[in-house]
Symmetry: C2
Subunit: 286 residues, 2 copies
């Protein structure tokens, strides 16, 4: 694994022109995770002249900041609508904790967008704080952005986006998810991660479970979810039906679409990311 | 490296819905290369009902059949225009020849779309025959296609596309290239590959060099080339100016565009692949 210095300044790692704008990757020393963190940023052509709103994209298990950048085809739509896309990594890397790299669904590449409370994870695995506060503060100070932000994600990242928006509705104009882990306290991925990061008391898990959080939502952020019908993880891990039932019970009107024949891959994301960005753009520029 | 049986039937390795159609990968036993060969095929929604034309895409150095599939974002446009996209690998794999895997610009991942004449390469490295004849014959027999085909590619694959179209103008309605190796007999990549695959007699190299072939073209296939101005390989390896001069000398009217600030990456390809597919579609469906 490539390692970057934990201390030191923000540094740009790459830059390529795309759809008239710039796709860049950066690394910086992050307080929340006490590691170096990489992120991608797409600056649309409009960002040359004026502050643009930001869409944060949270990726799924095993991903880095790169997957969405190269596979989603989102830059085209971001350029069309004048949106900045920010894509953080999915966990700290290089923390050298025992067990960190042993499984693909826990530790490295699987930060679950929470703040860990258990040793040894709690020092580094604080992706909730990182995505909610530290990264946006950095983006706003270093890039020309408007004060509007939205959030979206896939799978584990869909879970992260929903949780962040439900708990911080004043921070996001809109939230969308592709195939989110919609009830992590009720599925093996979530139970494994939450048990290790948060401990065995399930009451500490509730604030990271969107199907529980939605029942207490005071402000209803516009929410959109797309789910492929041929997704191998649908029944055991994702469980959108629990989120839909919970939403219905409190009259939270979310837009939910089943996409016939689509699986869990980036082919599904790329097919509908244009619709998601157009949808967010209406709120971000409204 | 994963190996597949050299003998045996065509087998589908993967299938995912994308933009209403299907992105698939297949493996088959190829005569031309005496190895198993993988290829990708995107079947647009229109292919359910009627024969669609085929665009062959040839990738660059180090690529497999997968890079274009996941990075170019081309499925969207193929679905829009009703084009089948076929993406072969860039070389035989698993031939176990000495030196095959030692460099990134020769051997595995670097077949250069030629028929090798030198030992030990000549038994396997016959990508010219594979792309021109064997693969299209297979595609036409196994999938519902129209009788129209076009060809395009990037870098080494741009070289391949131009050479195949210039030598076989009756086979392709149109040819396009992103940042092609336009004069391989005059650059280090081409000289290394041609010297090893074809031997040291430069007269045997001429039939694989588009800046030489274009001067003898009897039929002028519609040709389009896009080149990024920030491409690191432009001056030493690609040399489009030699192709442009040669074309001008015989009044071959090709469409050439310099794209300001774009580099050699898939961000460049993804930014303009939509224009290329629309351009080919006019010829393929005309």
């Amino acid at each position: 694994m490539t390692e970057y210095p934990v201390s030191g300044d923000l540094a740009r790692l790459s830059r390529a022109k795309a759809f008239g704008g710039w796709q860049e990757t950066w690394v910086h020393s992050a307080r929340s995770t006490d590691t170096a963190m990489k992120f991608g940023i797409y600056l649309p052509p409009q960002a040359d002249d004026k502050p643009c709103p930001v869409l944060y994209w949270l990726s799924g298990l095993t991903c880095t900041e790169e997957n969405f950048i190269v596979k989603a085809g989102a830059q085209r739509y971001a350029a069309e609508h004048g949106l900045i896309l920010v894509t953080p990594d999915t966990s700290p890397r290089g923390a050298h904790l025992p067990g960190e790299d042993e499984s693909w669904d826990f530790g490295t590449g699987a930060g679950f967008y929470l703040n860990a409370t258990q040793e040894p994870w709690s020092r580094h695995y604080n992706m909730y704080d990182y995505v909610l506060d530290e990264l946006p503060t950095l983006i706003q100070s270093e890039f020309l952005t408007s004060d509007k932000a939205a959030i979206a994600g896939h799978s584990m990242g869909g879970h992260g986006a929903l949780v962040l928006a439900l708990r911080n509705p004043e921070r996001y104009t809109s939230v969308s998810a592709f195939a989110p882990i919609a009830a992590p306290t009720k599925c093996p991925w979530g139970q494994k991660a939450f048990g290790n990061y948060l401990g065995e008391d399930p009451s500490s898990w509730e604030k990271y479970d969107s199907h529980l959080l939605i029942q207490k939502a005071q402000i209803h952020v516009p929410m959109r979810i797309d789910q492929g019908s041929a997704d191998n993880f649908l029944k055991e891990q994702l469980k959108p039906e629990l989120l839909l039932e919970a939403a219905q019970s409190v009259d939270y009107k979310l837009e939910y679409q089943t996409r016939e024949g689509y699986d869990h891959s980036y082919f599904f994301i790329s097919s509908f990311i244009g619709e998601h960005l157009a949808w967010h753009a209406d709120y971000l520029k409204g």
